[in-house]
């Protein structure tokens, strides 16, 4: 029954029990030898400069995504800081302008007062 090379032909194969078939399959699927020089070729490839470059470990998709995400976050932060700095400068400038305007108004007012007092005293300094 187990020897398919001899026997009664197709009926013999058809009557194979599953266990016997599995046994034949397992025997048919014994490991085969690697090609001659297989290990040498791998060692050559492992020593080549190209492989050494790759030795740095290929970056996984996750790592690449993390790098992209890190870059994006850094860019957003930089833009944010730049924007915040610009807003701050703008506010400082507006505040300084406002203070300058107030100071000018105060000075004008004081000058007007002084001019009025001098006029009352009979002195005219001109414009």
């Amino acid at each position: 029954m187990s020897d398919l090379g001899k026997g009664n032909g197709p009926e013999l194969v058809e009557e194979l029990k599953l266990e016997e078939f599995e046994l034949h399959l397992a025997r048919a699927m014994a490991r085969v030898d690697a090609p001659e020089g297989f290990a040498d070729r791998i060692m050559e490839r492992s020593a080549s400069p190209a492989e050494k470059v790759v030795e740095m470990r290929p970056r996984s998709r996750l790592v690449r995504m993390q790098a992209w995400a890190g870059g994006a976050i850094a860019a957003v932060l930089a833009l944010g800081m730049f924007g915040a700095e610009q807003v701050h400068l703008h506010r400082e400038q507006a505040k300084a302008n406002q203070q300058f305007d107030v100071a000018m108004q105060a000075t004008d007012h004081a000058l007007d007062q002084t001019r009025a007092q001098l006029q009352r005293a009979g002195l005219n300094l001109g414009e």
Partner: protein
């Protein structure tokens, strides 16, 4: 830091038959199998420091080889049956001589039939019968539910057996 060259060579020599046989039976093509096997080992070389034991190396090599081999099949986009002839011509010279008790033509025919199985069934059958792994171990290796592995094994085996019953009519005279 990578593993030392001497240690790497030892691992290649220890596992080359396993890795090459897996690649060959999954891809069905001698040249592709060597390429797949080399890539698997080189991946081991590059990441070797992460592997802790011989069992871990074996598990890792099997998994990477199966994945690389199935990737190669998909890239090739050729029906595996087309490569069966090459497989038989190139892979079985020495093996036939080793298995003196086995009917060489039957081995060749079973290999040919194996190449005709759908990929998932073929991988499960190869791991079960070449590597003598249990369904649980195969499931763990492939990251699949055990039920899927058992189903693939059962269906693959039935399909092989049915094909053998049909195609070997010509062979067994």
């Amino acid at each position: 830091m990578t593993m030392e060259a001497l240690e790497f060579r030892r691992l290649v020599e220890t596992h080359q038959r396993m890795v090459f046989s897996l690649a060959l039976r999954v891809t069905g093509e001698y040249g592709t199998a060597e390429e797949v096997a080399q890539d698997a080992f080189l991946e081991l070389y590059r990441g070797g420091e992460r592997l802790e034991s011989e069992d871990h190396v074996r598990f890792w090599l099997r998994r990477v080889t199966v994945h690389r081999a199935t990737d190669a099949i998909r890239r090739r986009a050729v029906r595996p049956e087309a490569a069966a002839e090459e497989f038989l011509e190139e892979a079985h010279g020495p093996e036939v001589a080793d298995g003196a008790a086995m009917n060489a033509a039957m081995v060749a025919r079973l290999e040919e039939l194996l190449q005709g199985l759908p990929e998932a069934m073929r991988v499960a059958v190869v791991l079960r019968y070449q590597e003598e792994m249990s369904p649980d171990e195969i499931a763990k290796l492939l990251g699949q539910p055990v039920a899927s592995v058992k189903s693939n094994l059962q269906r693959g085996l039935q399909l092989l057996r049915r094909k053998a019953a049909v195609t070997m009519k010509e062979f067994v005279r």
